[in-house]
Symmetry: C2
Subunit: 408 residues, 2 copies
């Protein structure tokens, strides 16, 4: 077998994520290992907890990493919080609402959903009505759903859930660090994220945070596996979490001064997560969000001036991904994406479900979210669309993007 040295073509990743990794993060990943109980390493684990408190805008002690992609963080939170038989309300506005519903189903929960058209969000009052009607134990929602490019407003939802004594879990994978997320101020009980969007890291580790309400639930289901169980330990009365890997109680022991061994921490992914957070906090969360807002504004102005139509509710778009309708003149939408990728080295995203074949999704996330990339993307897309017979004015697109930057 002759498998050659790794040598991928350079790409500019402007899909819905993953996106290009910040070079400092790539470099951090080539840092040698430390043993998992080396005091230097456990020191780094504590630093990472502190860094992600900054990222999540929280004082939650329990701010840790789950070793897996963003979906692992979601399942870890949901499987540890939701008991089989409990009622879970999932507002579904896109693919990732379906995912939360699916995960809750597999946990054995009773699911209630409310649905809205892809491209819309929920009014918090609508969610409150569903809470009053169905009296769920948990509400599980996505903040930014890349499948629709929409950002669900959460600023009132936490308080609503608190008033009804409901636990609120939020999947902020695609939104974090590019859209405002105030865990404590908004009273979000548990939030999970991923590195591969606005945090400019690779997928493979998932930062999560949760408050004391959630910690008490998890403690009530506490179990320690045989072989490392301290003598005299008595398991809690609550139903055992059905996953060992995603047992938040055991992760808490691993991330506490007890350092009770669970998995072996994914060391290089922790190095990556650490560097991602340092970079975002050095820029400042607000500055980074402002950069996402402005860059998207330039991209969107360019796309519209070029003659394209933007997708979805304009007042609730995520700052970091833009849906654009595929022009009617384009017979083969995937050929356009393919020319963008293979001839211009720029990846833009296809879409799922009811939007498949109808919109493309263009990401401006994290490290990729900058003027030069917007310009390259607009220029290239304009040319590819024109060559494929679409009625577009590429020059107008570029001028409009310049105009946004000229506005100061």
């Amino acid at each position: 077998m002759n498998i050659k040295e790794l040598d991928p073509s350079p790409r500019l990743l402007m899909g819905p994520g993953p996106v290009d990794v910040y070079p400092r993060v790539l470099r951090a990943m080539s840092t040698p290992m430390l043993g998992q109980f080396d005091p230097e390493f456990t020191g780094h684990m504590n630093e990472v907890m502190a860094l992600y408190r900054g990222i999540f805008s929280t004082a939650n002690h329990w701010t840790i990493l789950v070793d897996g992609t963003a979906r692992a963080g979601i399942e870890c939170c949901m499987a540890s919080i939701i008991e089989p038989g409990q009622k879970v309300l999932v507002p579904v506005m896109g693919r990732f609402g379906h995912l939360l519903k699916e995960i809750a189903t597999r946990i054995g929960a009773e699911i209630v959903t409310i649905e809205t058209e892809w491209g819309q969000v929920f009014d918090p009052d609508e969610i409150e009505r569903a809470i009053r009607q169905h009296r769920p134990d948990v509400v599980a929602t996505v903040q930014g759903d890349t499948s629709t490019t929409m950002c669900q407003p959460l600023d009132r939802l936490g308080r609503i859930c608190r008033e009804h004594d409901v636990i609120l879990y939020v999947d902020a994978t695609a939104s974090i660090a590019g859209n405002r997320l105030l865990t404590d101020e908004w009273m979000l009980d548990a939030v999970s994220a991923g590195l591969q969007k606005c945090l400019s890291g690779p997928p493979g580790i998932s930062p999560i945070t949760f408050n004391e309400r959630v910690a008490r639930i998890v403690e009530g289901r506490k179990h320690i596996e045989g072989g490392i169980r301290p003598e005299g330990f008595v398991a809690a009365n609550g139903p055992m979490i059905r996953s060992n890997y995603f047992d938040l109680g055991m992760l808490m022991d691993y991330w506490s001064p007890k350092r009770l061994n669970h998995h072996t921490e994914a060391t290089t992914m922790l190095w990556a997560a650490r560097e991602c957070a340092r970079i975002v906090l050095e820029e400042g969360l607000d500055n980074g969000i402002a950069r996402h807002v402005r860059t998207s504004k330039a991209l969107r102005a360019g796309l519209e001036a070029m003659g394209l139509k933007l997708f979805g509710d304009a007042t609730h778009r995520m700052t970091n991904v833009t849906g654009v309708w595929i022009p009617a003149e384009i017979a083969d939408a995937d050929a356009v994406r393919s020319e963008m990728l293979l001839d211009f080295g720029i990846e833009i995203g296809t879409s799922f479900g009811p939007l498949h074949g109808k919109i493309w999704r263009i990401g401006t996330m994290g490290h990729v979210c900058r003027k030069a990339n917007v310009m390259r993307c607009l220029a290239s897309l304009g040319m590819v669309l024109a060559r494929n017979g679409a009625k577009v004015d590429p020059r107008a697109g570029i001028d409009a993007a310049y105009g946004v930057y000229a506005d100061g």
Copy 2:
């Protein structure tokens, strides 16, 4: 918050894993990203499947990566194979047998265990007797259990399981690439591994392989999540796998030409896994195993000549980790490990459960498994033990290790 640039102290990791990552692997991890559906990237996914067929000595088509640490690969295999209510036999010879038992319990299986003293393995006839008596659906066993340093012989077990129509799952995390593992020849139905031992990679991604018998079981439980489910798809009759993240059927779709999106592949961990396999296959599996055998022989000769006693059944030791009794004169075993780490930069392992405080575990795994490291470890441990009052002859240890290498 002032969190400094990553700058860990150099360590030589000679514990039971993780161990030092091969520098080529560290470098591979700083390779930029590709999008997950980029044809170049899916090409790399296929290459990785081929590479790990080599590592597992199998022709199994289904040889893929699970995005999480080794324990994620274990849970993925077990949760996808074992249905709630099925009977699982776990031979427990150490901590990781307890882990398999625990995972099967959480899945809702009925568990039968046979146990042996830590430091021993099972005669395959003993396992067969338990199979005849209990008629399990699945046997789940560890190959190399680092908690006891023992390697369970598996060459006859696959055939025994096949004769009794039992599925055999093997956790080869700690043994793979340092100890012989012949998936097809030994008729192992599913095997999972990790990078952080003899594959010289970081923890965080888990290679697994399984045959058609297992694929049929998984297909019988097939389910596709809402939001990406093709029209007209009908779920299989078998009970839904309780985890979304660990649903092997959905992972199979993701790793097949369908490329049905599940999680986002942990790109840089895949780069790492790819480079680990290339390095091991370039050396040749047999050459690598021979290197582990010889290096351990030198370490063990040195430890014994120094005056220490080795732990466990000598005929069934793993090639890559050595248990050594803590000398009676040592009052504070952790102080010795701490001096080794902080003054000599060498990590050796503590131990769990009934062996805690009784043995240390010294790893010679993957990139770390070489003469210079054995010599440094013996010299340093000899000095630290002598300074802590143990009756040891450090020079004799070094001479004995030299002797093993002089034997050719």
